[in-house]
């Protein structure tokens, strides 16, 4: 295991990520390519998410690793929800029963005064005793960062004592305004587990993803390829072999831009440099790219033809039925581009989008999902960037009145219901992948339209907490932006 590791810079520095934008997709794409946009500020904000949460999410699901959150209890209290999605994903992927293997040091006032390394040491020893893990990850939080606990030193010392690698992940929430920086920090530390390739596994494809269904196995098994879902629901041993894979792909460049690039650079594992397989055209192209990297070109052509023929009848019906619908997408940067693309392929008109941030470029410069989307969908008007901020998004939606809203993140889909807009909550980010995925999304949209009366009933009786002045059409949704630079 390599213990020396470089650190990874936060996204606002590394990818010139922005949090505020108002314009259209084409303009953002052109200006973003030049990296000329500023991150932006607002005098008023609603709560975001933090990079600690994103980092924890990547290592919590590793099957034989333990996790210690060196934090007050509030940072860790949501672990039960992660455990539930871990269990459902394990079941969906045939991985047996998933169990919680995370401990919180429960930092109290005493540790903020006298330091928390002693309690951290205790937690590491306890994790070894309780879970007998192959690796122990330790994440930091705002408190441990500000008081200056030597987490890395404690991890190093304790690891020698217990004979299990203890890897610290420095992901204090306040250190980046872009919560997805937490993905990069976690992956940078996961790379320590990755070994030098012993043999090339020509049929193994790394798929970076979150939790969710197993939709890549049906897709890639048609090419006689094996799927290595990463990093959730894998063993440390499986993780250590990702350097041996034939290629790396991701469901969302926002998630895996950093590690995909590093695997290519360090271990020559090529990335699939096509857009992720969301919609017919992108799936065809993605399959061809994978086939090229794994030398299965002629098989791929047969599969593509067969699959296209297989889904065509229902796809044509869906396109006809959904063809006049106007859709709005509200999701993370790259994933929003995926969703807009698939909606467009179903014949819908993408009338607007909001992404939680925008990376002006990926770590691998030729991968640019916004560019892929603009090429495929065309320009999308009413394109905004803001980190959730329902006070603004509700105004966008009220003004545009889309027929359907597609949302990726927890607790945001309810806004569609409160405004009376049929809404798809795309929590299972693997579900609409590939040939079956596009059909599946079309069916789900039709199903949502059937529940209009419920949506209407909620919207007629829901009171939004905003003042009349704020909700007035004449009030600029960007009223607070640019204040307090």
């Amino acid at each position: 295991m390599s213990l020396a590791n470089k650190t990874v810079d936060i996204r606002e520095n590394r990818l010139h990520t922005i949090l505020h934008y108002n314009g259209d997709a084409q303009d953002l794409n052109e200006r973003g390519k030049k990296g000329e946009l500023q991150i932006g500020n607002s005098g008023y904000e609603q709560c975001g998410n933090c990079q600690e949460g994103c980092a924890v999410g990547q290592v919590y699901g590793i099957l034989d690793a333990a996790l210690i959150e060196h934090a007050p209890l509030g940072c860790y209290a949501t672990i039960s929800a992660s455990c539930v999605s871990g269990k459902s994903t394990a079941k969906a992927r045939g991985k047996g029963v998933f169990h919680n293997k995370a401990i919180c040091t429960n930092i109290s006032e005493r540790e903020t005064i006298y330091g928390g390394t002693e309690i951290l040491r205790e937690a590491i020893l306890e994790a070894k005793k309780r879970y007998d893990p192959r690796v122990i990850f330790v994440t930091t939080a705002c408190v441990s960062g500000i008081v200056g606990d030597d987490v890395e030193g404690t991890a190093r010392d304790t690891q020698d004592e217990i004979g299990v690698p203890v890897i610290s992940i420095s992901c204090e929430g306040f250190k980046s305004r872009i919560w997805s920086s937490g993905f990069d920090i976690a992956f940078n530390e996961i790379l320590r587990i990755v070994r030098e390739p012993r043999k090339k596994q020509d049929d193994l494809v790394n798929i970076f993803n979150f939790v969710g269904s197993d939709t890549f196995t049906p897709l890639l098994s048609m090419l006689n390829l094996r799927v290595n879902y990463l990093p959730s629901q894998t063993t440390v041993e499986e993780l250590s072999q990702i350097s041996e894979a034939a290629c790396t792909a991701t469901i969302c460049e926002t998630l895996a831009t950093y590690i995909g690039d590093e695997l290519e650079r360090r271990y020559k594992v090529p990335q699939v440099k096509a857009a992720a397989p969301y919609c017919l055209g992108w799936t065809d192209r993605w399959m061809r790219e994978v086939a090229k990297l794994t030398h299965r070109e002629s098989l791929a052509e047969q599969v593509i033809q067969k699959e296209n023929e297989r889904i065509r009848p229902e796809l044509e019906v869906l396109r006809k039925e959904l063809g006049n619908q106007r859709v709005y997408v509200f999701a993370g940067d790259a994933y929003a581009h995926n969703m807009a693309n698939i909606a467009s392929d179903l014949g819908m008109e993408v009338v607007g989008m909001t992404t939680y941030h925008h990376d002006q470029y990926a770590d691998t410069r030729e991968i640019n999902t916004l560019n892929f989307m603009v090429e495929s969908v065309g320009n999308v008007p009413n394109y905004t960037v803001c980190n959730k901020q329902p006070y603004q998004v509700l105004k966008f939606l009220k003004a545009l009145k889309p027929d359907i809203l597609i949302v990726r993140h927890q607790a945001l889909a309810v806004y569609g219901y409160k405004l009376g807009i049929p809404t798809i909550f795309e929590a299972d980010s693997n579900k609409c992948v590939g040939y079956d995925g596009i059909i599946e999304l079309g069916r789900r949209i039709k199903r949502v339209f059937q529940t209009r009366k419920l949506i209407q009933n909620i919207s007629e009786n829901a009171e939004l907490p905003y003042t009349d002045w704020w909700m007035d059409e004449g009030t600029d949704p960007f009223y607070f932006e640019g204040e307090h630079q």
Partner: protein, 456 residues
């Protein structure tokens, strides 16, 4: 107090955000790092029986999303700007600024910042609730006292006979709080009291809070959480408090509770007894009707009891199921981490109310220790009822025992207005427990079933 924790059952002091949201038209403003507010919401609302954002919670919550610059140079200016924005765009009767760890460590003073707005006539309060200061039971008490001191204020109006303020379950931390508070209010109103319930759909919001000083007395229906609130009210407004430490579940305890309150408030004994008699008549009419089912399915029913919950719930529910439904409490796990003084008090309350099962008591906030104890005690038993959270659900499924949700985290159930409080609550509990018997594969009295899946 407690050290490391796994399988958590509460969150940090910033959980006070949910206490604010439980007051109709009250709006929290969070001065903390960027993920804190959402994590509180995910734990205490979504993970508490899928409760939603309500009027102004979830992603609506205003937050400074403290960044490195704020931590290095101080965040009070940014906080002022967010407060100004919040009162411009949000419709609320009360705004409560809460600090998280970043603000607490660097010394940003949210109370001071809030006071400047309050001086201009804005309904604004600031309370320190840094996560490292304590858990959300602590945060709940802190924010209630903060609102009383900074918003309700120094009034000493004449007392209104028969009007009471109720302090009991912690909103959201008690996943059944909405139904519980409606039930408590309704019970007390039946015996003739006027009730400021203060939280939830049955509360009139800030108007009701402004009336707190007018109450004749306060009721604390809880072993220790809220004790600091009612003693504070006693000092501040000269209103005494009536402390009833046991959650009234089922007929016996609810009748005892109503009698005790009636006596304390010097209500007409005749009225109270009439109400009790009427409620008991209805209760036992339903209760006895379960007899047929019990008799038929006796072979398949659990009788050993394991309860994991905070001191209010663990004692109240265990007492009911032991005393009135004949369960044997094998494990009573009290998870709310009371401080040493309160711990002694809770022990006394438990000794008085579940005297025969003192050996079953374990005060523990680390869920994995609870899980280990349950598994050891269970052995190979398949005639146990486990009552608790997602964590106990996992054990029930592994061991083939029946399960009932009672305490957070609850990610796999929708809770709207359900309650286990009062006469009605006792029946509700039995309906849920035994209803689960049929949630899995067919269970027929004609077939003895070894392990009860209960649909898990």
């Amino acid at each position: 107090m407690s050290g490391i924790i796994s399988q958590p059952r509460f969150t940090c002091a910033l959980g006070a955000q949910q206490t604010v949201l439980a007051i109709p038209k009250a709006i929290p403003i969070i001065h903390a790092g960027p993920g804190c507010s959402m994590k509180i919401f995910d734990y205490a609302a979504t993970g508490a029986g899928r409760q939603g954002e309500g009027y102004a919670g979830g992603n609506h919550v205003s937050c400074t999303n403290a960044s490195e610059t704020d931590v290095v140079f101080g965040g009070e200016e940014k906080l002022r700007s967010v407060i100004e924005g919040a009162i411009k765009i949000l419709k609320g009767d009360l705004f409560v600024v809460l600090s998280g760890c970043t603000a607490g460590i660097i010394g940003d003073d949210v109370e001071k910042v809030a006071k400047v707005f309050a001086r201009d006539g804005r309904p604004l309060v600031g309370v320190e609730t840094s996560g490292f200061k304590g858990n959300n039971y602590f945060g709940h008490e802190a924010v209630v006292v903060g609102i009383i001191d900074q918003f309700v204020g120094e009034a000493r109006p004449p007392k209104k006979k028969g009007t009471v303020n109720v302090f009991s379950v912690v909103p959201y931390q008690d996943p059944y709080w909405r139904g519980d508070l409606e039930q408590i209010k309704s019970l007390l109103e039946k015996i003739g009291l006027r009730v400021n319930i203060l939280f939830g759909a049955g509360s009139k919001g800030t108007e009701e809070w402004k009336n707190i000083p007018k109450a004749e007395f306060n009721i604390l229906l809880s072993p220790w959480v809220g004790l600091s609130i009612v003693t504070h009210l006693e000092e501040k407004y000269g209103a005494p408090f009536f402390h009833y430490p046991v959650l009234p579940v089922g007929a016996k305890e609810t009748s005892a509770f109503l009698r005790a309150v009636g006596e304390y408030a010097q209500l007409s004994k005749e009225t109270v007894e009439r109400i009790i008699a009427e409620e008991e008549r209805r209760y036992y009419d339903y209760f006895v009707s379960i007899g047929d089912f019990i008799a038929l399915y006796q072979n398949n029913l659990p009788y050993e009891l394991y309860t994991s919950a905070d001191s209010l719930y663990a004692i109240g529910i265990t007492k009911y199921l032991e005393n009135e439904v004949g369960y044997i409490p094998k494990g009573i796990y009290i998870t709310d981490d009371p401080n040493p003084a309160n711990l002694e008090q809770v022990k006394e309350i438990a000794a008085k109310n579940i005297p025969e099962y003192q050996n079953s008591l374990l005060f523990e906030a680390d869920g994995e220790i609870i899980a280990q104890d349950i598994k050891e005690k269970l052995g190979t038993s398949t005639r146990a009822l486990l009552i608790g959270s997602d964590w106990e659900r996992e054990i029930a499924r592994e061991t083939g025992n029946l399960f009932q949700y009672l305490s957070n985290p609850i990610n796999q159930k929708l809770i709207i207005r359900q309650t286990f409080v009062g006469y009605q609550g006792g029946l509700n509990l039995l309906e849920e427990i035994y209803g689960a018997l049929f949630a899995g594969e067919e269970v027929s009295a004609a077939t003895y079933v070894e392990a009860i899946s209960g649909g898990l």
